[in-house]
Amino acid sequence: MTRPGSYFSGSNDHGLSRRGFLGATAAGAATFAADTRLDGFKSEALAAELRKQNKNVILLWLAGGASQFETFDPKPGRPTGGPYRAIPTNATGVHISELLPRIAARMQHTAIIRSLYTKVTDHGGGATLMETGRRPAPGFSYPDIGAVVARELGRIDSQVPDYVSMYTSTEGRRKGTSGFLGARYSPMFLAENMVPENIRRLETISDIDHRDRAALRDVLAKRFNQTHQSSTVASQTTAYHRVRGIMASEKLFDIEQEPEAMRQKYGPLQFGQQCLIARRLIEAGVPFVKVARAWWDSHGQNFETHRELCADLDQAMSALLDDLAERGLLENTLVITLGEFGRTPNINASLGRDHFANAWSCSLSGCGIRGGVAYGRTDEDGHNVADGPVKAGDLFATILSALGIDPESEYYLGSRPLPLADFGSKAVKEVLA
């Protein structure tokens, strides 16, 4: 396309007049941005304060359901315990599976909850419950934790995405949903590639044309936007204003920009690489990143599966915690390790464990969390919660509290108030800093 004498080789004259055009538009855009408010759901002052603190979440989603016995709640020597040992951690009295030695050495950042009691044991239903913190209700579409965090901690004019969701393994694909919060808070996906869709300029249009036509769009949209004042109308221009910033964030997805030594810490596998991307995104101000690791659904060969997947989790998660801590990001970043449910105490004939949601585990690290704590207790064979049952809504409330978001604050669906965490949920204070 480039040919001598064309715009691309850049006559000065030409460049000047186009800059003039852009300059005039930038002023228009700025005026417009000042009118742009998300909505009046909540106290603006409080929301602004939260956003200033720049808090973030990385969700490591163990798709398919990891076994609590082979991770955070080992039962060595019991008939249900399986072949692996428990090892001490650097937190006094807290033991976890020997499959997670590096995490064991970093328990000062992490609180374990061993008493999840969520009952739902089908993949879809369990994932929906754990992602939204509530049972689905006919006629309502609830937002997942990513959308809620994006809504509460994201900035409307953010130059980076506010909810990024990565999955690549076939079985780990769940879109997640922003529910009634609307498409503004839908996740940006990485499904096929390591880079989101439509983030890169096509080669058939030059950068300056790409920029100028957006400026022309603003000029032409101005009158309509001024005479039609609604947050819905404003959202369209806000979306177009965010395009260039989001495009510039493409480099965040490029781990080639990290030193080789850093990449090695996270490991060569895709999960580790995605964790590294997650750190890069968080550092750039993305409030919520989900990295899904599949497929933990070990109905057969549970112990082989966990030996492999836990090694991967152990390396990636410990590298992530170290990296965040060294950069001073961990105190503002909450790392959640969670799946849709745990696995049965009974070991089946194929040496597998099946779906189980009556007594299982997750972990929370970093922002707002009291490290080195194991909350709740299962009975000696892990069949039931013996102490401190935690429901999905309670976990949701705990996560929000750790981020400084009041779980009892409310959204309005029309005139219907809905608390952020399900009615009657209680945060687990023992794991909060």
Binding site: G139, R201, D212, F224, T232, A239, G424
Partner: protein
């Protein structure tokens, strides 16, 4: 747990009755549009609310075409309307659009959103809806088709998709039926009496569910009913209760159960289980009362039909005016009164007395002054609150409307001008292929919701997706960009682009902005025209119905 529902009425000790006395309403024989304007104007006057003036020809044409045909007007239609000097051109336009093949397609698309919102593009169901829309089938008959259709009839069988696709979850079927046909979201009353809406008790949820719980679907996909079966439920206090066949109005209905001995019942249940699981199992003969049929009967019965009639009147009103008279539209109950209760009552009565003719209602709304107010508010004073309907809202297009409009706008406009195309049969074919092309595009956009926010994904799609660049913005002769390229004069090209995309002439300011842009890019005019078209296609004027 459910969201808690409306708290608005907490101060109202006395609940408003849903039915007023007919004698207090405007006369039944007054034209719909006059009745609408009477009630709407009365409220704005009483509350001293300022109202927007009537909108101009170009905007009205656009609004009517989007609302009645589901797409923007073509350049030919835009020219014809603004140039017409007929005193009755608005009525002529409304009647032309309502009679055009476009209306049926659009009406089908809108009904699909109400009836099967979580399962768009269900081919069978869309086939039924189009068939019904093309003959303006009575809404009560459609209700009967969808709940109790005859499996041997091609179209009624397709209508049963409403039940068939939901039968695996009878709670979902119960609530979906209640929301779609009665405007009542009863899901809050499933686990306990509704905490904040006095009207809805567990008895209502399970009463409604009783009519639906006998339904089953065979492996061959036939929707059938067991001749027995009652619903039991447990109250919050742990008391087990048996539900009655009870409608939302509290009306109890007698639904017979087949008297069978223990052995006979076992046998029949076994046969039903087999039919549900096996392809070649014999289908048990239907016997006795149809519980779903009884639900249809009671819901349409004089004295109990106000939910059914008010719901569809309210939903059509929302379609045309952006907000229900009762808002949200699934919250018809005494604690959430209509903004204009007499108007809703009158419209519902009119529907009942005129054979649930939805086209008649749509026509009436389209001809009202309330409908044709401007959407612009430039005065320094606060705009009127939406429930006054004193200012037309800018409504985001549905994914389907947006997709169709993009396809219409990006074509070389002389395509739509062809005389041959104006024949209804030819136009129907054209519309059908446009619908098919729009399927893929529509999937890229989100359906509008309360407080809708356009996602950055949409802007990224328009900015960087190759289908935008290589299809909508292609510069071949069959596309708008190709058409403009062949027009030598810049201003003429700008005028054409505005007419095609925004159905109007550009203002001087807009013209000079684009002229400046073209001049700055004179080294590659085709590319510059492409970017100018992009800037208009991505503008709010095309994204919103205003």
């Amino acid at each position: 747990m459910m969201p808690r529902c409306a708290v608005l009425f907490s101060a109202l000790a006395i609940l408003l009755p849903l039915s007023l006395h007919a004698s207090e309403l405007r006369p039944a024989d007054q034209p719909i549009e006059q009745v609408i304007d009477h009630y709407v104007d009365a409220l704005t006057k009483a509350d001293e609310v300022p109202a927007a003036s009537q909108t101009g020809d170009a905007t009205l044409l656009r609004r009517l075409t989007l609302d009645l045909a589901g797409r923007i007007p073509t350049a030919r239609e835009a020219r014809a309307y603004t140039e017409s000097t007929s005193a009755s051109k608005r009525v002529e336009l409304v009647d032309r659009l309502l009679a055009s093949p476009d209306f049926a397609f659009h009406h089908r698309n809108e009904l699909e959103e109400i009836l099967l919102p979580n399962r768009r593009n269900d081919g069978e169901f869309r086939k039924y809806l189009l068939w019904a829309a093309e003959q303006n089938r009575r809404w009560d008959d459609m209700f009967r088709d969808m709940l109790t259709g005859n499996e041997d009839d091609e179209y009624q069988k397709a209508a049963l998709q409403f039940v068939r696709t939901r039968i695996r979850d009878v709670d979902d079927l119960t609530n979906a039926t209640s929301v779609a046909f009665f405007g009542v979201n009863v899901s809050c009353a499933k686990c306990h009496d509704h905490p904040l809406v006095e009207d809805w008790k567990q008895d209502h949820f399970y009463g409604l569910q009783s009519f639906l719980s006998r339904t089953y679907v065979t492996k061959q996909n036939a929707v059938l009913e067991k001749p027995f079966g009652e619903v039991k439920y447990t109250t919050r206090e742990g008391v087990e209760k048996q539900a009655h066949f009870m409608f939302l109005t509290g009306a109890n209905v007698e639904v017979a159960s087949l008297e069978l001995s223990g052995d006979e019942k076992k046998k029949l249940e076994e046969a039903i289980r087999k039919a549900e699981r096996e392809d070649n199992a014999p289908i048990p003969e239907p016997q006795g009362d149809s519980a779903r049929g009884k639900l249809v009967d009671v819901a349409l019965r004089d004295g109990d039909n106000h939910f059914f009639a008010q719901n569809i009147a309210n939903r059509i009103w929302q379609r045309m005016l952006g907000r229900g008279l009762v808002d949200p539209v699934d919250q018809i109950h005494s604690g959430n009164p209509a903004s204009h209760p007499e108007l809703l009552e009158w419209l519902a009565r009119d529907l009942v007395t005129h054979g649930y003719d939805l086209k008649r209602l749509i026509r009436g709304i389209a001809l009202s002054q309330t409908y044709s107010r401007s959407s612009e508010w430039s005065s320094a004073s606060e705009p009127p609150r939406p429930e006054y309907f004193a200012l037309a809202p800018a409504r985001p297009l549905t994914p389907r409307q947006y997709a169709l409009s993009l396809l219409v706008a990006s074509r070389n406009s002389t395509h739509w001008d062809q005389d041959a195309l104006q024949q209804p049969d030819r136009w129907r074919q054209e519309r059908e292929s446009l619908e098919n092309s729009s399927n893929g595009w529509a999937g890229n956009f989100e359906a509008p919701t309360d407080g809708f926010q356009i996602a950055v994904d949409e802007a990224l799609l328009f900015s960087n997706n190759d289908r935008i660049q290589n299809d909508l913005l292609r510069d071949s002769g069959d596309r708008l960009v190709g058409q403009l390229k062949a027009i030598e004069d810049d201003q003429e090209a700008i005028n054409t682009a505005f007419l095609v995309i925004n159905s109007r002439q550009p203002t001087d300011e807009e013209s000079s902005a684009i002229r400046e842009y073209l001049a700055a890019r004179a080294d590659n005019r085709p590319e510059a025209l492409k970017q100018a078209v992009w800037a208009l296609l991505t503008g709010p004027e095309l994204r919103f119905n205003h």
